[in-house]
Symmetry: C2
Subunit: 428 residues, 2 copies
């Protein structure tokens, strides 16, 4: 396997660092629009693991917005797998470039949605991933695999859902992804500050888009089972494990809802994000004031009027999520709450989850936990593809593949060739 | 009396329009940095009242930041009174320019405060108006009057406080200015929108500065009776009259607290602003995210990185308060809640107030009610100075003058030479 990683931001950087401990690939090219970021990732690997490990890695520049640049770099390095780790706005160009170069493709977020023109909070318009699934036949015909949504959420959550469907339930009422954390960021004086652990730009996009829900009973209707609600709908306090505790969660548009119903049988599929009451309030206020907008506004400045998008100003006013790792404490939890009927015919409710602790990820990888937890899963998936445990062609989600080998490789101790990452099953 | 009005923004424009119905002055020059705004005010008067009324008015350009420009324009037009109606950051230059030109001076907001360097939320630093009171001897020596803080709040509130001290109370426990409204702004589709009726820039300044409180028992302490608290302190729901109803009020830094104790005897002086829970939440969020800051940030834009102050972006994202009048309904109330011992020796609690209804101010003056209510009071004060009912020298607040003539002129019907503006006294 020859991997081309596109994007050396937080998640891309962590993917390279995690891969550096593994031996399943022949070469790993880290590419970025900003070459210095790609080089920094390789330099970190050289410093931590020595020249022998770093010899399998290379750094190069790429323009992710241009399919022909993506294809050219993939061909130049004879990439067998293109791993997309940039903003979702570049999904379509990388997806096309990988196919053109004859490589398999993996991503952690799918092509973007567009709200319904007249009833955005009732009906779906263009859904997450629609542009990719429309290309399924082309990928199948080429015998190439596009494994989409294989981060932590989507990704590990989809693996958990497949595991529940295969091994725990005879009938599933709801596949409810639930994501929550108890992360706290402090300033130099030790005071708690407001500093989201993921890009505020992307978070606004996710949270203010109409949340999408799947219900099997609506399959015959226009929309094919999928429908939308207003932002922040169906608030619920979910009690997260391992000391995180109760966090207010709301519906958010997310890939799981578009992926799981394509391969798994469930009455209902949802995604709720544990934003917490404070963060929900902040997002509502930004929307109320129009500060979530990406349309440039004319604003006075010392150099005369300038045109800036309010959302870019909000992002600039907050600490860079890439820099807050050392000042952050706490854990983040990703998982799926599955309800339905167990194999024994009795009602069952389980929460399958994985927790990442920021102090551990910082110590082991100099990577903050939210970013690191996302990066872990595509590396495991690549390893399963490299050794043939997973294989396929077309545009497929993680739930299209057997879950047990993934979870076994993930939890097996590092000394025994695994990733040493325990996962949990909580049953009330 | 020859008046030079500086500033033809919302309040300045309304002052000129209100003055146009009065005959107490000989000439009235409307000046602004933007000459077209000054000309627009005079053109409105010409259109509404005809050439004979407009003949007493003129428009000119001025640089309010430059005391010599202020003095030159005042001398050129032989102004006897300079009426300051611009942002408080220009108070000191206009104040100095008026004295240099030998004119009396009036304003509606006082020179700005600076927080205490080490204990901003406990002690005062430079207080509102300190820079002006420091010049008192110079004004007294010149025999010139600076009547400071003579809008609605400060202004009418100070007149009410003097009235209560003279005619209603033998001992005052608290002079508590309370300001609240039930204004609603709608978009073209009739949906309620977030659109503050006063400059968000100034509102942030007012609300995030440490609120100041006066307590007589602290007179001997450093600070001379004045102290500060954290923003939004002592929340209280105050029930406003004439259908406005209960509104959440919090302490806000305001001139009344600095003015009233200089002339009136009270155990405690406070100012609480009926921001309402939603607006308080918005201001807290802006502060949490650093979006209240006036320090320029580097932000990406289509034209490359630019430097903008987040607070300017917030102001640009919201509807211009000068344009929302036609889309606004509701009333605004300004008043003072006085508690203590009545003339009869019994406990007494009264709320003295004035209410402005936006539909009325828009119909009569094409001016929104918050702006119009502010503009009314300096015109009444000018009239009392013109006819000699009020006179004095030095830097004086409205409470340094007898209140009854002001309130009588204000409430007397227009047909009988008054302003036709009723005020209320509510006693539980």
């Amino acid at each position: 396997m020859r991997i081309l990683l596109i994007g050396a931001g937080g998640v891309g950087n962590a993917i390279a660092k995690i891969a550096a401990r593994r031996s399943f690939f022949e070469s790993f090219v880290v590419s970025d629009y900003d070459l210095s970021r790609a080089e920094a990732a390789v330099a970190w690997i050289r410093g931590r693991h020595g020249e022998r490990v770093a010899a399998r890695f290379a750094a190069t520049r790429i323009d992710a917005s241009d399919p022909s640049s993506v294809a050219a770099v993939a061909r130049e390095h004879r990439a067998t797998h293109v791993m997309n780790a940039v903003e979702p706005s570049f999904v379509e160009s990388i997806f096309a470039g990988a196919l053109a170069a004859g490589a398999d493709y993996l991503d952690m977020a799918m092509s973007l949605s567009h709200p319904h023109e007249t009833e955005p909070y009732r009906r779906t318009g263009v859904k997450l991933g629609d542009a990719q699934f429309a290309e399924n036949q082309r990928w199948e015909a080429a015998g190439r695999l596009a494994l989409v949504g294989v981060g932590v959420e989507p990704g590990l959550s989809d693996v958990f859902a497949r595991y529940a469907a295969d091994e725990l339930f005879s009938h599933i009422d709801e596949l409810g992804t639930r994501d929550g954390a108890n992360l706290v960021v402090r300033d130099d004086d030790g005071n708690e500050i407001f500093a989201p652990s993921f890009s505020i730009w992307t978070t606004i996009e996710e949270c203010l888009n109409p949340p999408v829900i799947f219900e099997k009973r609506r399959l015959g209707e226009e929309g094919g089972g999928w429908f939308t609600t207003p932002p922040f709908s169906e608030p619920e306090v979910f009690d997260f494990p391992e000391g995180i505790g109760p966090v207010e969660c709301v519906n958010v548009e997310h890939e799981e809802v578009l992926l799981m119903p394509r391969w798994l049988d469930a009455e209902r599929v949802t995604f709720k994000y544990g934003l917490g009451a404070e963060f929900i309030g902040v997002l509502k206020t930004l929307h109320l004031l129009g500060l979530d907008s990406t349309a440039p506004l004319r604003v006075r400045s010392a150099a005369g009027p300038v045109e800036v998008a309010p959302r870019d100003v909000v992002a600039a006013a907050l600490p860079d999520p890439a820099t807050i790792g050392p000042r952050m404490t706490g854990k983040t939890c990703a998982g799926v709450w599955v309800t339905g009927t167990g194999k024994d015919g009795l009602p069952r409710s389980v929460y399958l989850y994985h927790v990442a602790d920021n102090e551990w990820t910082m110590r082991e990888y100099e990577s903050q936990c939210v970013v690191w937890q996302t990066a872990l899963n595509p590396v495991i998936a690549l390893e399963l593809l490299a050794n043939g445990t997973w294989s396929g062609a077309g545009v497929l989600g993680p739930e299209a593949f057997p879950a047990r080998p993934f979870l076994e490789l993930m939890e097996r101790p590092e000394a025994e060739g695994g990733y040493g990452q325990a996962w949990g099953l909580r049953e009330p």
